[in-house]
Symmetry: C2
Subunit: 142 residues, 2 copies
DNA sequence: CCATTATAGTTGCATATACAAATACCGAAC
DNA sequence: GTTCGGTATTTGTATATGCAACTATAATGG
């Protein structure tokens, strides 16, 4: 059954979640080559780009709760892709050499993901959609 | 930080998830009065509307995996809001009297939810968004 | 009529995420 | 300088969800 055929398709909750899950699936496939979930991959890319970035900052960029960031970091630390250093109350997150080495492949995955959804949706339509959803998400901020 | 300020805000994965989480939050609040998550509430409303509906059908309407439907049903059964009957390999789901009694309040919650997001986003904009997201979700079906 | 295949549903297990509470540190005010 | 409110992070716990494997039933082809 198509999303738009559903009895409750006119409901924002329903539609937004169905869409997010489908996109998640696409993303999971794109990053499966590096054995990382999209969230982990994005976090790692952010850390590689801003070595020493703090969890709070990551939390803001990724719009995930601090506790979720901790869990993501723990897993990546377990895979030796990044490390934490602790100075007083603040924590800095750095990529390990192994993490840095993975970067090109992460960007390939990102590119593949972009390509896949652009192909399905069209470049313009997907760009519009992203922009539109971002705008809406901002409005929903309290 | 706003969703649209994020480094990866141009990424569909990221945007779709952030949006879905924010909407989820709004929905959770709207249905908190009946102590049900939005998913449970939608499932119950569907069952009340089509008594005897089968899990497979629910799975299609809600765009959730059959196993997830089983879990949702189990919980609602535990709350005595619906019951299952088994005939051979097929299962039928019916609302209990208690489940039926709850319907008006569920619809109130639904209405409240609509009102809240319409107020924030504007009636037209939210309607457009829902339609647009639904269309996109359909395209992403394999 | 049996063997195979397909369908409906459930169960076991894993994951991502959130919230609330706890911890640890910092800074400011008295 | 000590207490106290605020900030950064982690931990404990709960939830929704998915996938894969499993069971049970139905249907179909020989």
């Amino acid at each position: 059954m198509k999303t738009s055929d559903s009895k409750y398709c006119k409901c924002l909750y329903f539609t937004a979640n169905a869409l997010a899950r489908k996109i998640e699936k696409l993303a999971l496939e794109s990053w499966s080559r590096v054995s990382l979930s999209p969230s982990h991959a994005y976090l790692l890319m952010l850390v590689a780009e801003k070595p020493g970035i703090q969890p709070t900052s990551l939390s803001e960029h990724l719009q995930l709760q601090p506790s979720t960031i901790t869990r993501l970091i723990e897993k990546l630390e377990g895979k030796k892709l990044l490390i934490r250093t602790y100075e007083g109350k603040i924590t800095n997150v750095y990529p390990t050499p192994k993490g840095k080495d993975l970067l090109p492949r992460l960007h390939e995955c990102l590119h593949e993901f972009y390509s896949r959804y652009s192909e399905i949706l069209g470049k313009d339509e997907s760009a519009r959609l992203v922009q539109n959803m971002g705008k809406i998400a901002d409005k929903l901020d309290v």
